[in-house]
């Protein structure tokens, strides 16, 4: 049995083409103008043989297999490079074409190993298929000919091999790297017979610029580029469509299995977010799901210094339920609460927040978005009316100017970055506002027009300065403002930003950005036909994060860059379901759909459906819970799929709070850092076992389908239901689909969402309502969600975190491509090959002052803690600023981050920590990450 591949129509679609009629082998067919004859024939159900063509790549015309005859034209043109024309008559099969194709195939096969029966791609090889299609029966060339039989095999990367003996030099891999991924790591080196695929300057793939996105593997028509898992396990025989569980891009994948064994994850061309592309995490780093560190049985213990005891589900849930009930009875419902996870499905999150509100009896529920994009929720709701990115990802293809602020898409959101880079290669201009010289500032065929290397903490001053230029230089889109926005708030805002204190010249010393650059960037943004803002945690994770979000929204409204394709204010969400976890009512002041708990009408809806009295006042946020735990007034916490002991700031404070709890229940895949303080451990399910939905950064709701049975025997929502029920609040659903039905019944923006709709349409972007049954790709088209756009003055209030003589440097943190957040997943994959430890990037001047060289062990100390890292001397950071990632717990990046947070949302100020860095003359064992596979002590079984 062979897996059914996704259809490949040979060349890309050309949207917008008027219909033309062509005849394919005498059969008339109506197709869009501009597409190739190859694609037209495939659409007509009469596919033409091909090798170098793929509908994910531009036509290349190299293999000469797709030759056709066109009436009235001489010769046999390649159908992939021949566009259709109205009235064209094409013949795809004739004796002449058959002879030519057999000749071409004979040449290919004459230099190809005839080991099909033992080849890993046997049955999934286009070369093999085409040999059969063209009827090749013999190869006439002598066996003593020159061949590539001794060509090298590159096994340097963990996830796929490059076997040059099987390469037909079709360039599909090279073109995929160029066109799809945009890395340009591959090339065809040599000439004639010596032509061969080479990475960078002839280096092994692992040491080259290759980012292991898998686009080349996907494109390869032979076994030249082959997944290691296919070589080891054999070809898959069936597939399940599902959604990646890494970043907020939310790529759609075909999980391809052999029997019940997952063999590979292949990006789905039908996926609205990724359209057939992937990154090294989603494509390859899924092995954590079956890693031996997985805990699959519930465990309990009386106190955190005792060993774990494996127990039944009933016992674990009973212990948790009795514990929470006792705390509630003794200290009130305000003494307990829960944290939901952006790694979990909408359905799992909805059920946990319902459990907290209805069964615990409190609004003390929060989510990990608290530490990433909570300012987005606040800022966009204030200005536009709802917490949502305004565009779909495809919108960037119409942007003329792209402004990236505080984001590093090539590392954090790589599949969207590829889409963005494609647009930049087409000519869109780029402005990067970031202290660090991220890859987008200059990479192959992409260069930022302006890089505003703003000092950490000065974002608001920059956006105000840009707004100052827009207002004082007459660049406001007066028509848009007059028709779509509040006149009074605009006037107040305009007066504010026009103040001389906000000019680029006045703020230059503060921001560190030359005024001329700010003015030029503002003019470029304001004058563009379509200008779009994309931003990340470099915006939100500041003490003024919410102010900055509102500042960007103000700027977009003032310049009319809202409400159509190519524009917008677009948060690049960190985790796979940050958007969804927020949508599902995870914040302590809001029900699902961002409606305040004090709204009597909204509360009545939930009270009616849930049959429970609900608290009309806001609950505690995560930092408030931790403070209250230390103070002794907060005593019991349920943590769903989060590792706050590693991810949240000021680790010492977090651990002190966790250690203060009478009851900590952790639901997770692994015994993470937080679980060290837990009394009950409820094993969670990986995304490969879940049944539900994720919502990505463009509000796209995608199905997550179970690829394999739950290794714990339970779905996570079933566990939450059991816990609520054991606490005296009966809660249960027949399926996860029924949970989404409840969301739809209670939440207007999800009214049209159901698993049936998602299965039928593939995905929808909320709002999905009776008025917009297929969803809403672009928001605020005719009016803002709140009616008229609301301008908010954004005075710059500096952070209280200041550099001093004792702590003279600013530490800022971020991510790297191969790792994901706290690394719980990626550290348990071969991705550690790229990033085995977190390092401290330090400017050469700061390094020299301290006697630090590459590889030095350095002590990084802030006023709250210190850690040891290895140094990487780099001029990516400006002098005075150092940078690290937080993927390895042993590095303890958050040991040094502080309690300061965004004024409106308490989102931690990860991006600004005053530190000192010193060379360790006699270093202790530098914390290089231990392999995550080292098993801990086995729990006792009862």
């Amino acid at each position: 049995m062979t897996l059914q591949r996704e259809a490949d129509l040979g060349t890309p679609d050309v949207p917008g083409g008027e219909p033309v009629t062509v005849s394919i082998n005498g059969v008339g067919v109506s197709v869009p103008a501009g597409i190739s004859v190859l694609r037209a024939a495939a659409l007509a159900g009469q596919p033409v043989p091909k090798l170098c063509a793929s509908d994910s790549l531009e036509p290349f015309g190299s293999c000469r297999l797709c030759l056709v005859e066109v009436e009235g034209r001489a010769g046999t043109p390649a159908s992939c490079t021949t566009p259709v024309a109205d009235g064209m008559s094409v013949v795809t099969e004739s004796p002449r074409l058959a002879r030519l194709r057999r000749g071409v195939m004979e040449l290919y096969i004459s230099d190809h190993p005839l080991d099909c029966l033992t080849c890993p791609a046997n049955g999934d090889c286009e070369l093999q298929d085409m040999a059969g299609v063209v009827g090749l029966r013999e190869v006439r060339y002598p066996e003593a000919r020159a061949t590539h039989a001794d060509a090298p095999v590159d096994t340097s990367t963990p996830y796929f091999t490059f076997d040059a003996t099987k390469c037909i030099a079709c360039s599909r891999c090279v073109r995929a790297c160029d066109e799809v991924q945009g890395t340009f790591a591959l090339t065809i080196a040599g000439r004639g017979f010596d032509s061969h695929v080479a990475a960078s300057a002839g280096e092994p793939l692992f040491g080259s610029e290759c980012v292991s996105c898998g686009a080349c593997v996907q494109a390869c028509p032979t076994a030249t580029l082959q997944e290691t898992t296919v070589i080891e396990l054999g070809l898959p025989t069936r597939h399940v469509d599902t959604t990646c569980a890494y970043c907020g891009v939310g790529c759609s994948f075909r999980a391809e299995l052999r029997g019940d064994t997952l063999v590979r994850m292949v990006p789905s061309k039908a996926g609205g977010a990724n359209e057939g592309h992937s990154c090294v995490k989603g494509r390859f780093a899924w092995g954590y799901a079956t890693h031996r560190d997985r805990v699959t049985e519930p465990m309990v213990r009386e106190s955190i210094d005792e060993p774990w005891r494996v127990v039944s589900w009933d016992e674990a849930i009973g212990v948790a339920a009795r514990g929470f009930s006792a705390l509630r009875d003794a200290h009130g419902a305000g003494a307990i609460g829960g944290i939901t996870s952006s790694r979990c499905t909408n359905e799992e999150v909805f059920v946990v927040q319902k459990m907290v509100r209805a069964a615990f009896g409190t609004n003390n529920v929060d989510t990990c978005a608290r530490v990433c994009h909570s300012p987005t929720g606040y800022g966009l709701k204030q200005t536009f009316g709802t917490s949502a990115g305004t565009q779909d990802f495809a919108s960037v293809e119409q942007a003329d100017v792209i402004v990236v602020i505080g984001a590093n898409p090539t590392d954090g959101h790589p599949v969207f970055a590829s889409r963005m880079k494609r647009r930049l290669r087409q000519g869109a201009q780029l402005v990067v506002i970031d202290p660090r010289r991220i890859d987008l500032v200059r990479s192959p065929h992409v260069a930022a027009t302006y890089h505003l290397a703003v000092r950490p903490g000065a974002n608001v001053a920059i956006v105000n300065a840009m707004a100052h230029v827009v207002v004082t230089e007459g660049l406001v889109d007066a028509d848009f403002v007059a028709q779509r926005c509040e006149a009074d708030t605009f006037a107040r805002w305009a007066q504010f930003v026009a103040g001389p204190e906000n000019s680029p010249e006045a703020t230059e010393e503060l921001t560190g950005v030359p005024a001329s650059l700010v003015r030029a960037a503002a003019r470029l943004y304001a004058a563009a036909p379509n200008a779009a803002i994309y931003y990340g945690l470099g915006v939100t994770e500041h003490s003024q994060g919410s102010t900055m979000v509102m500042g960007m929204a103000n700027l977009a409204m003032a310049t009319g860059n809202i409400g159509r394709r190519g524009v917008g204010v677009n948060p690049l969400r960190g985790q796979n379901n940050v958007q969804g976890s927020c949508d599902m009512g995870s914040f302590p002041h809001e029900f699902a759909g961002y409606r305040h708990v004090s709204d009597d009408a909204v509360r009545a809806v939930f009270e009616s459906v849930w049959h429970a009295a609900l608290d009309p006042t806001p609950g505690l946020r995560i930092p408030n819970m931790l403070d209250a735990a230390v103070a002794g007034t907060f005593r019991g916490l349920f943590v769903q799929g989060e590792d706050i002991a590693q991810s949240d700031p000021n680790t010492a404070h977090v651990k002190a709070a966790l250690a203060s709890l009478d009851l900590l229940v952790v639901q997770d895949l692994f015994l993470n850092e937080t679980a060290a303080f837990a009394h009950v451990f409820l094993p969670g399910t990986s995304f490969l076992e879940k049944d539900g939905t994720f919502t990505n950064a463009e509000r796209r709701i995608n199905r997550v389908r179970p690829v394999m049975p739950s290794r714990t025997g339970m779905q996570e929502w079933e566990v939450a239901c059991a816990l609520a029920t054991a606490m005296g609040y009966p809660m249960g659903y027949d399926s996860s689909a029924a949970i989404m039905d409840e969301v739809a019944a209670t939440t207007p923006t999800f009214a049209g969402v159901s698993f049936e709709v998602l299965d039928r349409l593939g995905s929808v972007q909320w709002p999905c309502t009776p008025e917009a049954p297929a969803g809403t790709p672009i928001m605020h088209v005719d009016r803002f969600v709140r009616g008229l756009g609301h301008f908010v003055p954004t005075p710059f209030v500096p952070t209280d975190e200041r550099t001093t003589r004792r702590y003279p440097l600013v530490l800022t943190t971020g991510r790297i491509l191969s790792q994901y957040n706290v690394g719980a997943q990626t550290r348990r994959t071969a991705n550690v090959a790229w990033h085995p430890e977190d390092v401290l990037e330090i400017h050469p001047h700061d390094a020299e002052d301290r006697g630090i060289v590459d590889g030095s062990a350095v002590r990084v100390a802030s006023r709250v803690g210190e850690t040891v890292l290895r140094a990487l001397v780099s001029d990516r950071m400006p002098a005075g600023v150092v940078y690290t990632t937080f993927h390895h717990p042993v590095s303890g990046a958050n040991v040094v981050t502080t309690e300061f947070s965004d004024w409106a949302t308490n989102c931690p100020e990860y991006k600004v920590t005053a530190v000192q860095v010193g060379l360790l003359v006699t270093p202790p064992a530098v914390p290089v990450a231990a392999p995550a596979s080292e098993p801990g002590p086995l729990p006792a079984r009862t």
Binding site: S543, H589, V630, P795, E899
Partner: protein
């Protein structure tokens, strides 16, 4: 170094958050400051947190900004 009269860590957080809110919402129009701070506390702070802040204010030792004190007065006033 904390002294005997310093607020507990949770109390210090409340004071810092309230003052920070006041600083950020009052930058352009001080006349609206108290109302804006009160609205923020009512929308986002739990009743326990508001109560703790009010208690600290009543004790008179917490370094609260005038806008916060005015906001607390608004919150305490009958609806």
């Amino acid at each position: 170094m904390s002294g005997a009269g310093d607020p507990a860590p949770g109390e210090a957080s409340l004071v810092r958050m309230a003052n920070q809110t006041a600083a950020n919402v009052t930058g352009t129009d001080p006349s609206e400051a108290a109302g804006a701070v009160a609205a923020h506390l009512r929308t986002f702070w739990s009743p326990v947190m508001r109560g703790d802040l009010a208690r600290l204010a009543a004790q008179g030792q917490a370094p609260l900004r005038p806008e916060v004190l005015a906001a607390l007065a608004l919150l305490a006033a009958p609806a």
